[in-house]
Each structure stands twice: as C-alpha cells, then as structure tokens.
C-alpha cells in the first residue's frame, strides 16, 4: 500500500474529513482517509453539542454564514441517506434579562441578513408555554425553526462508512509526521506507518491543522483551543427539557445550552476556556460548576443528581475568526481547512461540497463513478424497533435476542455487527459510539465485562488486548492466577 499513489489523502477523519471523503467517493478517485486515533471522529467531533444551527449567529458575509446557510438544509437528505438520527425540532435563544431583549432583536436582524428562514421572536409567556420549566424571568426568545439536533459521531461514522463502501481507504492509528514535499509541491505524507503519495492532500485535522500547516511551510495560522465542558443527564431529565435552549450569546461563545439530544438525554454545556494544551480534555471542578450554574439560568430546577456523565471537548478555533478553507498560493497540492469551530458541524456537508468545488476549479478531473451508492444503513437498533421487527431480527440472528446493555437495551447482535462494519470497531469506545452500549445510567457497569468478552471473540484476540480507546488503554492487566508483573 505504501507505494500506491492516491489521488487524494485526507488528514483527519472527523465529521468534516469523513464527509469530504464521502463526497469525493462519488468520483473515480483513489482516496485515503487518515486519522491518528483508533476510530473516526475522536477529536472535536465526539465532544460536540450536536446542534444543527439555523444560522442567525454568524457574521453576515463570512464563510461561516455562507456555509451554515448552505449546510443546514442539506441535513434532511444527508441523514436519510446515511441513516443517522436527525430532528429538525427548532432551537431557541432565550432572554432572561431586560438587556437580552436587545440581543434577541439584534440576532433576529442578523439572521434576516443571513437569509435564515423561519425565524420568529416570541414573548416570555409564549416561551414558558413551550417549555414550562424555563426560568420565570424569561423576557422572550428567538425561535429558529430550521435549527435541529443530530448525533455528531454517528454522522461522522456513517459518512466514513459510506465512503469506504464507495472505495475510500481508511487508515486509523496513522499519524502524519511530515509531508513529502518537492519545493512548493506537496506530494504525499510521511506517517508512523510509512509514506503515502498523493496528488492532493487535504488537511482537515481540527486542533492540529496549524501544526500541519506550519510543517508544509504555511506559518500564519494558529489554533487557539477553547475547552468546553458538559454534563450528560439521565433520560428522566427529558421530561423537564423538551427543546434546544441557548442563552443570549457572548462575544466568545454561544453560551451554555440546555438541550435534549436525539437519544432523549439532556446535555448541559459548554463553557469556554481558552487553553494551551491540545490534548487537555480534563474536566475541572470550577468548569463543571460554571456549566451547572449557567444551565440553571435557563432551567433553574435542573437536578445534578441526574448527571450520568461529564466530558470536555476542545473547539479548534483559529486566529482569523472565520473558517479557513482554501488552496494556498504558496504551496500546491494542498487544501487546508482550519478554524472549523461552531457552526462546523452544521456546515460540514457544505464544507465537503465547497472543498470538492475548490478541487474541481484547480483542475482535478471529477468523473462520476457509475456504481456510487449514497445509501448507508445503520446497525439495526433493537431498542428502536417495533416488537414485530424485533422478533423478525431475532429470527434472522438470535444474537439480537440477548440484551447486554440493560439501560439502553443494546443486544449482542449489535455489538457483533459493530465489530464487522465497513470501519470495524476496534475499541470499547468505538463499539459504544456505534451501538450506545454503556451510554446509559449505569455507564457500562453491567455491560463492560460482556462487551470485552464479545469483542475478544469477534476480533480473535485475548480479552487482555481489548482497550477502551486504543493503545495504552487496556481494561484488564493479567489473569488472576498470574504473577503480577
């Protein structure tokens, strides 16, 4: 494989890289999608609020505004094709102080400038009617009818799987160390697994975009990671929270949200904390307290006892304030994507289209593949099926009759399927993101030993080899009768 020349190498299999791979897979191209992590979507994609934004927030005229507006309406078809949960449920920005009324009006005007459809200002009583648990001080809200919620890592996995179905190669645990570069021409990448040559190289590396750009000789761009911390609440909280609720935004962030997810959990967050270390995904006592306090400004009765998980993610914000998506003049053979922060998820399908357009303009021949199949089917979700469908699934494969995650009702059949998908799950977390195993209120206490056993069997390795999230994260250290090392 190391001697093969690809038409395109994509560095970074987050939701943006994966959607670019999928979009390019409709053409007669040899595409390689690389990621240094053990699964796709392990960076900013997996720690994301999962909101498809209406588009009222972006600076009019910016690339963010343009791609948000273009990306949002693409979700309906995309998520049907990729079999990914998406709900166009509308979103609210809620004002709780008299000054917030002005902010809401400004946002409304900005939305109109951005041509955002279905935007409405509603008054406090109407907001309280729509979300009875909302802060009593609510003065009004901006409703964005085209806003919605999606599962960000399922979208990423689905896009990458569909790309693989259409001939894209994926190499995980493959870290780009350098470029193969002749003067000002990038001709491939040097990785920990060897050298891969290509005609075009696309940097969609999120937090690491700047370091790769610097290596290619593009020095002006810097990523400024901003950490966001979150709480995930038990499903019972969705009896209290039915909508996507934003506070009025601040200059640095859209603020701490309270939102239902497509899986009927509730998530709270994120705060925004500028940090230096791109691998610092630690939650902090102060950050979590800030998130809970912020969320309670919208829904005062939130119960921290309902928390089932906390996590943190890093936004890959840049020093230019807008998305940077371009073919640089200084170096050829390279497409750079940098500063893809919010509304990056919403924009992602439009970004993929935009990158394809840039490549076409630069002379890359794009010839349709006759056998391109845009349809990807998800693993059957036992919990979401009717009783009749469940029965027929068990008749086809009895392993769908054995429930191994009681909180989320995930069956052995689903875990087995996750191990044999177009991008096979190789870690517990990869199985978790594909099946929801361990994402419920017991957080894996019941399923973990069972999943380790099933994965070891399916992958043909010892249970000792099964990891949580790749090298260095094994669950088990030794057999009980072995001598400690």
């Amino acid at each position: 494989m190391a001697d093969k020349t690809y038409d395109i190498i994509i560095i970074g299999a987050g939701v943006v890289g994966s959607l670019i791979a999928r979009t390019l897979s409709r053409y007669r191209l040899h595409v390689l999608l690389l990621d240094k992590a053990s699964d796709v979507g392990e960076g900013a994609t997996k720690a994301n609020t999962g909101i498809v934004h209406g588009g009222y927030n972006a600076e009019p005229g910016s690339l963010k505004a343009q791609l948000n507006a273009r990306g949002n309406p693409m979700f309906d078809k995309l998520c049907v094709q990729l079999d990914v949960p998406f709900e166009r449920c509308g979103t609210y920005v809620v004002g709780v102080t008299p000054q917030d009324r002005h902010t809401l009006r400004d946002l409304y005007r900005r939305g109109k400038e951005n041509d955002v459809p279905d935007l409405h200002l509603i008054d406090g009583p109407e907001m309280r009617r729509r979300e009875p648990a909302i802060n009593e001080d609510t003065v009004g809200a901006l409703y964005s009818g085209t806003g919605g919620i999606v599962d960000p890592f399922e979208l990423c996995i689905a896009a990458a799987e569909n790309a693989v179905m259409n001939g894209v190669e994926v190499a995980l645990e493959t870290e780009v160390l350098d470029f193969v570069q002749d003067d000002e021409v990038v001709r491939g990448v040097v990785t920990n697994r060897g050298t891969y040559r290509s005609r075009w190289t696309i940097i969609s590396a999120g937090l690491w975009a700047d370091e790769l750009m610097h290596r290619a000789g593009l020095n002006s761009f810097e990523i400024k990671p901003r950490k966001g911390e979150y709480f995930v609440l038990d499903r019972v909280a969705s009896e209290q929270v039915h909508n996507v609720l934003f506070p009025c935004p601040t200059p640095v962030s859209k603020g701490i949200l309270v939102t239902r997810t497509v899986h009927d959990n509730v998530i709270l967050g994120p705060n925004a904390d500028v940090i230096e270390d791109k691998e610092d995904l630690r939650t902090t006592a102060s950050g979590l307290a800030e998130v809970m306090e912020g969320a309670r400004k919208l829904v005062p009765d939130l119960d921290q006892e309902q928390a089932i998980r906390t996590f943190a993610g890093l936004r890959a914000g840049g020093n230019r304030g807008d998305f940077v998506i371009e073919i640089p003049e200084e170096v050829s053979g390279l497409v750079i994507l940098a500063g893809i922060e919010s509304p990056g998820l919403t924009s992602s399908p439009a970004i993929a289209e935009y990158v394809t357009h840039l490549l076409r303009e630069s002379g890359l021949p794009l010839v349709d593949r006759p056998d391109y199949d845009p349809i990807r089917q998800d693993i059957p979700r036992f919990a979401d099926l009717s009783r009749e469908e469940q029965q027929s699934l068990i008749e086809q494969d009895p392993r769908y009759g054995r429930v191994i995650c009681r909180c989320e009702t995930v069956t052995e059949g689903e875990v087995v399927a996750a191990c044999h998908r177009p991008i096979p799950a190789r870690t517990y977390d990869a199985v978790k993101r594909r099946t929801r195993v361990g994402t419920g209120r017991c957080q894996g206490a019941f399923d973990t030993p069972l999943v380790i056993e099933i994965m070891a069997r399916e992958l043909g390795v010892s249970p000792l080899e099964i990891t949580k999230q790749g090298p260095g994260s094994r669950f088990l250290q030794r057999g009980t009768k072995e001598v400690p090392s």
Binding site: V232, L281, G401, C442, A445, E453, P484
Partner: protein, 424 residues
C-alpha cells in the same frame, strides 16, 4: 410472539427472586416462573465469593455462591420454573411481561401476580462528576468483582477505592489477596458507609489506609489512570485545596452507593418513593399497583442478604395469596412517616386492620450516626406505640422495629405512624 402464562412471575433470580418464588410456591401458587437475564441463577451472589451470608437465616457463615445454592435448591425442589438469559423489556397492562432471549426470541408472559426483584445497581462516576480525564481504569467495585471472580482477570495492579460501601471494603481485601496493591480508601463522610464488620475484617485487619472526610478531586492519565488527586474535605464535603496531594495508581474503584433498579417499574407506572428510589410498598410488600409486589434491594437497599430473603418470602407469599384469593379488600391505608433523625421508612404505608392478622416490620435508616444509647420509637398520631433501646444508631445499619398484633386496636383509628430515632 410466543406466549406463556403463569400464576406468579418473578423478575430477577437474585436472593430476593429465589425466595419470592419459593415463598409463592410454598403458599400454593401453581406455576411460578422466574425470569433471569444472566446465564446462571443467584443474581450478584455468584461473584460474592467472600463469607458472611446466612448468619441470620441459617445460623451459618456461608459464601455468596453457597447461600445462593441453598435457595436455588429450595426453589428447584418446589418446582419453580426458570427462564435464564432472558431480559424483561417491559411490564405491560395487566401484569403482562415482554421478554427476550436468544433461544425463543420475544415472548409475552401473562402473570396473575408479579414480584419485582430486580435488585440494585451501583452509582457510576458521572453521578459524582469527579473532575479530570476519562481514561481506562475506572470501575465500580461490583464490576471489578465480576471481572476478578467470574471472568478471572485483574483489572489493575495499584488501586484506590473511592467510597466505603460494603462491596468496596470487600474488594479492598480481595485485591490484596489477589496480589494487588491498595493505595487507600477515601470516604467523603466522616464515617464509613458500609457495615462495621467489613470495616474491621476487610480494612483494619488488612492495614488498608482509610481516609475519612477525604475524596478524589481529579483523575489523571490520558489512556489509563496514572494517578489521582485526593483532598481532605471540610464539614460541608468541600475539598480543602491546601490538603490536595497526588496518589499514583492505575485503577480507581467506586463504591459510592447503590440505587434500586426500577427502570421497568417506572415505565410500568408504579409509583416510586423519591427518597428510597424504590416502589412505595405496604406491610405485605404490595406496590400501589394491584397484583404487583416488590422485595429486596429493588425496594430499598438492605445491609444483609438474610433481610432481603425475608422481605422476598413475605412478598412471594402475598403474591400467591393474591392469585388464590383474588385481590384483598383494600381497607383503610395510613402513611408511615420518617420522624426525627430518620431518613426513610419501609413500608411507606400500612393497612391498620391487617395488623390483626400478622405483625408488621418497619425498616428504617437514620440520617446521622449516634454513637450512644438511643431509642427507636414508633408513634401513632403522637402516641408512642413501641420504644426500643439500641446501643447506637448508624446510617450504615438498617434498623427494624416490629409491631405486634396486640397493637392493632391502638392503630385502628390512627391517621399516621411516625418513626423516630434519638438519644435515650
């Protein structure tokens, strides 16, 4: 969908399920079916290979598997039927269960009476919101127990245990016996939350460093736990930054509380007591839905398996009565309330006229520990019915007070019963 029917269906085959099924058969229910999601009977008991089970019921010091085996034998000898590796997905209308397994697929089980014995689960890390990273190497004590005692694998070499529940203390000792190092046990409260006997036999006897009024403030390590930051806490449980220090380890075990497992009950619309996390029950372990009974840790978390067994025998017998005699006339129901220094009482309500037939046991836990002579008292509308002197009262040890039938006339007209536990 396959369809089955039975007199009494029991969900879960832990100590409560086995005893409920046995009790139902013993009282004359014809067909009693236990549905168990695991591959073997006994619930959590097969992984509890330590001793200390059965002291009250058998007057013997048994291990978990031995205790489970005794009740399995009794249940089997009484012709109780079992469906293993079968998960109940739903409790539907009129006590109809939907369940699934690999062999038969979906099935519908119609029962005249139902006993809920799903037990409890462990509180996970997320519920505590411990700051830091999210590496491999964080387990609940019970998951680690299963990995070691059932699967045969050590999940780490150098452990810290957060919380001082019984499973955590048992595991601390067991880890030492398996050749691992236990760097310490940290408990945010000023007292341990498990039983005194486990404190002595598992922690003190094994020289495990116990840190009371202390907690884990940060998890460190990207892929696997590398160390923990720990701090002493003030009287409010807030960490004192000047006391923070780092403890190197590769595994964190959590023993920070048990929660009755009532997802099925909630979804079936069975009213749940927010304090216990279990269904509201009466003196016979009847929930507020006719024909549905609940027993053992699904109602409230017990200290000892013997207590679980007793509550389940009662529930199983009443379920059989329900099948044989039909629903009892409801009668007047009065509330049992938690009074001074009492966190909760089970049952939450009783039927006064039923005391003429048989005694009631009121089970409760205190809020604050009292290390001196105390009185546990039951009042009916302010009048003291029972007063029991105890040497001490600790939140970790459930207290039971029995009301005998001779008190029936004194509660016949009462509005409420109240349980209190205070200094003598």
């Amino acid at each position: 969908m396959r369809s089955l029917s039975c007199d009494v269906a029991v969900i879960g085959s832990g100590p409560a399920g086995l005893a409920a099924a046995y009790g139902a058969r013993e009282r004359g229910a014809e067909k009693v079916l236990v549905v168990e999601r695991g591959g073997e009977l006994g619930g959590i008991l097969p992984q509890c290979i330590h001793n200390g089970f059965g002291l009250e019921i058998f007057k013997e010091d048994l291990t978990g598997p031995e205790y489970a085996t005794r009740w399995m034998r009794r249940a089997c000898d009484a012709d109780v039927e079992f469906l293993t590796e079968t998960m109940v997905l739903e409790i539907g209308e009129s006590r109809t269960l939907v369940a699934t397994n690999e062999r038969q697929g979906l099935m519908c089980i119609r029962a005249e009476a139902l006993v809920l014995t799903m037990g409890c689960r462990e509180r996970p890390r997320g519920a505590l919101a411990i700051p830091g990273s999210r590496p491999a190497g964080i387990y609940t004590a019970g998951t680690a127990q299963r990995l070691i005692n059932i699967e045969g694998y050590m999940p780490g070499e150098r452990f810290v245990i957060l919380g001082s529940g019984d499973i955590g203390m048992i595991m601390a000792r067991h880890l030492v016996l398996e050749g691992a190092h236990v760097a310490g046990m940290f408990e945010i409260l000023p007292h341990v939350s498990g039983l005194r006997r486990n404190l002595v036999q598992c922690i003190l006897d094994f020289d495990i460093p116990l840190h009371l009024s202390a907690t884990v403030t940060e998890v460190r390590g990207r892929q696997r736990v590398e160390s923990l930051m720990v701090s002493e806490v003030d009287g409010e449980g807030c960490p004192l930054p000047e006391t923070e220090r780092e403890v190197p380890c590769d595994t964190l075990l959590l023993s920070v509380g048990l929660i009755p497992e009532n997802e099925l009950s909630r979804q079936a619309g069975i009213p749940i007591d927010p304090v216990t996390g279990g269904p509201y029950v009466d003196e016979d372990n009847a929930t507020r839905v006719p024909g549905i009974y609940a027993a053992g840790n699904v109602v409230h978390v017990y200290d000892l398996v013997d207590q679980v067994t007793r509550s389940a025998l009662r529930a199983g017998r009443r379920a059989a009565d329900h099948v044989r005699r039909g629903p009892e006339p409801a009668g007047r129901r009065i509330a049992v309330e938690a009074g001074e220094n009492v966190r909760h009482v089970v049952p939450q309500h009783v039927h006064p006229q039923a005391l003429e037939q048989h005694p009631f046991t009121l089970e409760f836990r205190v809020r604050a520990p009292l290390e001196c002579a105390v009185y546990a008292r039951v009042h009916a509308d302010g009048e003291t019915l029972v007063s029991r002197r105890l040497r001490y009262a600790r939140p970790s040890e459930m207290i039971a007070v029995t009301l005998k039938p001779d008190l029936a006339s004194r509660i016949a007209e009462a509005e409420t019963l109240k349980v209190a536990c205070a200094h003598a």
